[in-house]
Symmetry: C2
Subunit: 367 residues, 2 copies
DNA sequence: CGTTTCCATGGAAACGATTCCACGGGATGC
DNA sequence: GCATCCCGTGGAATCGTTTCCATGGAAACG
C-alpha cells in the first residue's frame, strides 16, 4: 500500500502540486505544456487520487448510496441493477448496502453512508422515522425513498399502487368461485406490508368474500415465513382455496411447502404472488402475479435523486400495478358456484397468451 | 448539509478536540468526566465523524469492497449476502459493486474502491490481469478472488472444483442413454467458463459420447444467451437429447425457450444446470443441478481477506461440487440401451415425443 | 515606451479528523 | 521533602487534496 500522491506526480512533472491538481481536475487555467507533463507523469506513476482527501476538501463525492432491504429478493436485485446503471449514466457510482430487513443493519449502513458523505441516498426504508433516518433528514442529505415510505417523513418517493393489482387479483379469484382467500401478508411495520394488507382487506369486503381474520398470516417478506404461512393457513378448520402472497420470496416459500404437502398449485389451490419475477412464468403451472415495473422504479428514483441533489423538490411518483393471469390461478374452483355465477363476466386486466396457451398447459411429468 | 464537526463537540463538552477525539475513538487515556461530557455532547449534537477525514489520517477504513459480476444472478446475490454478513460480524462494512459482466464497469468500480481506500477487496474477476486488476496488485491492496481466478495473477482465491460435478453430470446422462449432450458454455474469457468447458470436454471424451463441436454453444453467463443457445442447439441436424447449462441464468433462459417451443423438460430433453438456486427445486420437473456451497464460499472469502489484511498469505481454497439428481434428468432416454451405462449406438434423432412412453413414475397432469 | 490586463503558476490555507509531543500536577519512591 | 513517574490534557503537526491569493512575465493597449 505504498501511496502515490499528487506530490509525486507534481515532482515528476516538474510543476507545483497546485498546478498538478488543476490539470488533474480539468481546470482551464493550465498551459498545454503543464498539462502534457502532468498527464504523462500521472500515467507513468499510475496515480489514483485519494478520494478521501478530495472529498474532504470539495464537498461532493460523485457517489450515491443505495440501501435495499434484501439483496436476495430478486425484486431488489433488479432494482439495484437498474439504479446502478442509471446512476452510472449520470456519472455517479453506486455504493450498495443490504439492510437484510433489519433495522440495526439499516442504521449501520446509513451511518457509514452518511459519514462517507455520499451525495445522495436511495433508500427502501424499514421501520419508523427514528434512528438514522431522522439524522438523514436533519442533515438534509438528499434522499429518495423507493418501493416503501415512512409515515410522517416527508421525502420524495417512488412507490407502487398496490391497490389496483390486489383488487384485480381478488376480483379474479372471486370470479373463479373462491370465497376463502388466504393472505400471506408482509409485516405491518413496513409501508408496503400495510398498504397491501389494507388493499386486500378492502377488496375482500367489496367482493363479499370471507373476512375471517384467521385467513391472514403475517410474515416478514422473507421466504421462510411464506412456508410458515401456508402451513398455518392449511391447518385451519376451513382452509382457504386460494392464496395470495404479498411478495415473491414468501411466494417461493409457499410454493415449496405446497409441493412438499403434495398440493397441486392451480388445481388444489390457486396461488397469486405480488412482484413479477422473470422465472415465475417458468414454473409449472406458471404463476399468476401482480406486476409492477422495477426498471421504471429504479430509473425514476435516480432521476428524482439527481433533482434533489440539484436543489429541486420533485413530486413523489406512484407507479401502477396490474394482475397478470397465468395458470396458477386460471382454473375455476371445482364444484363452486362461481363457475356458473355472475362473476364469470369479470375480465381480468391482462392475460399473457404464451403462458396459458395449450403448449404451456400440456402435461409435464413431475418428480 | 450543515456539518457538525468534532470541534463543535469539543466546544460543547468544554474540552479540546484532542480529548474529544480520544474519547470518541475509545482511547484509554481519558478521564471519566471527560468521557461523560464528550459522549453527552456528541449525542446531543447527533455527531457523525467524517469518515473521509478519519481515513485520511489513519490508514484503515473498516470497510471492504465486494465486486460481483452480476447482482441479478442469484448465485452472486447470495454470495453478496453471505460476504456482507461475515464481514459485518468482523466489524467491517461491505460496499457492494456490480460489474454487470463488463470489464469497463469492473475497472471503474475497482478504481473507486481503490480511491476510497477500502481495507480490502473481494472480487469475482472478469477478463485478464490488465487494467485496474494490475493496479490492485501493484498497490498491494489486500484482495481475494472468489468464484473465479485470473491467469497469471497470484491472488488467494476461493473457487469451486467444477470438474467433479460436471463429470458426474455427464456420467449420469450417459448412463441414461444420452450420447449427444448439448453444452451451453460460459465465455472463455472467464476462468469458470474455461474450466467448466474443459471439464465437459474431458468427461464427454471419457464416456465415449459425441464430441461434435456443434454441440457446444458459447454464451455469456446471462439469461438471454441461454435462450439463444437452446435455439441454436435444437436447430442442429442432429439435436442433442440432453442439455447442460454452465450457470443458472443461462439455465433460466434455456427453460424459457424450451417452454416456448413446447419441449417437455425431463421427457423430450434432459436438462442440468450448474449452480443450485433455491427455487430450481420448485420447478416442475425439478431441475437437476450441480451444486456448490455459496455460504461457505462467502464465509471463507471473508476469512481469507481478513488474513491478508492482517499480513498473512492464506492458501487458496477449492470447494467441491456435486451432482444433485432431480426429475429434469432422471428419466432414461427412450429406446436407449438402458441405464446400465453401455451407450448403445441408438440414433437420438429417433427420439420424439410420440415415442416417449407414458412413463414410469408418478406422472402428474398439470392444469 | 509605460501602464494595464491577463493568465499560468506556486505558496499556503483549509477541510476534519488522529496522534505526537510537551506540560502540569498529583501520587509515589527514597 | 525532593526527585521521579504517571497520566490526563491541549497545542500543533499531519494526512492528500482543492482553492484562494499573490506574483511575475507576456501581451495588449494607449
Amino acid at each position: 500500500m505504498v501511496a502515490i500522491t499528487i506530490k509525486d506526480v507534481a515532482a515528476l512533472a516538474g510543476v507545483s502540486v497546485a498546478t498538478a491538481s488543476r490539470v488533474l481536475s480539468g481546470s482551464p487555467a493550465t498551459s498545454p505544456e503543464a498539462r502534457a507533463s502532468v498527464v504523462a507523469a500521472a500515467a507513468r506513476l499510475d496515480y489514483r487520487p485519494n478520494a478521501q482527501a478530495r472529498a474532504l476538501r470539495s464537498t461532493h463525492t460523485e457517489s450515491i448510496g443505495l440501501l435495499v432491504s434484501d439483496v436476495r429478493n430478486p425484486f431488489f436485485a433488479d432494482l439495484a441493477h437498474t439504479v446502478e446503471q442509471a446512476a452510472l449514466a449520470a456519472g455517479y457510482v453506486t455504493l450498495l448496502g443490504n439492510a437484510n430487513e433489519r433495522k440495526e443493519q439499516q442504521d449501520r449502513y446509513l451511518d457509514t453512508l452518511i459519514s462517507r458523505r455520499v451525495d445522495g441516498i436511495v433508500l427502501a426504508p424499514l421501520g419508523d422515522g427514528s434512528g438514522s433516518i431522522r439524522s438523514l433528514i436533519q442533515r438534509k442529505i438528499p434522499t429518495v425513498f423507493v418501493d416503501r415510505t415512512v409515515d410522517g417523513v416527508d421525502v420524495p418517493s417512488v412507490t407502487t399502487d398496490s391497490e389496483t393489482g390486489i383488487r384485480q387479483a381478488v376480483e379474479h379469484l372471486a370470479a373463479a368461485g373462491h370465497t376463502r382467500i388466504g393472505y400471506i401478508s408482509g409485516p405491518q411495520a413496513i409501508s408496503t406490508g400495510r398498504d397491501r394488507f389494507a388493499a386486500f382487506t378492502r377488496a375482500v369486503a367489496e367482493f363479499g368474500l370471507s373476512q375471517d381474520p384467521e385467513l391472514v398470516y403475517f410474515g416478514d417478506f422473507q421466504a421462510a415465513s411464506g412456508s410458515l404461512g401456508v402451513h398455518a393457513l392449511l391447518e385451519l378448520r376451513q382452509p382457504p382455496t386460494a392464496l395470495l402472497a404479498a411478495d415473491s420470496p414468501m411466494a417461493v416459500g409457499a410454493i415449496a411447502i405446497l409441493h412438499k404437502r403434495g398440493m397441486r398449485i392451480g388445481r388444489d389451490v390457486a396461488l397469486i404472488a405480488f412482484d413479477d419475477i422473470e422465472w415465475f412464468a417458468l414454473l409449472d403451472p406458471a404463476l399468476s402475479v401482480i406486476s409492477h415495473s422495477v426498471e421504471e422504479m429504479g430509473r425514476i428514483a435516480v432521476k428524482m435523486l439527481l433533482e434533489v441533489i440539484g436543489g429541486g423538490t420533485p413530486e413523489s411518483v406512484v407507479l401502477p400495478s396490474e394482475l397478470i393471469i397465468r395458470a396458477s390461478s386460471a382454473m375455476p374452483l371445482a364444484g363452486a358456484a362461481g363457475a356458473t355465477g355472475a362473476p364469470a363476466s369479470v375480465s381480468p386486466a391482462s392475460v399473457s397468451p404464451e403462458f396459458v396457451s395449450p403448449a404451456a398447459g400440456q402435461s409435464l411429468r413431475k418428480n
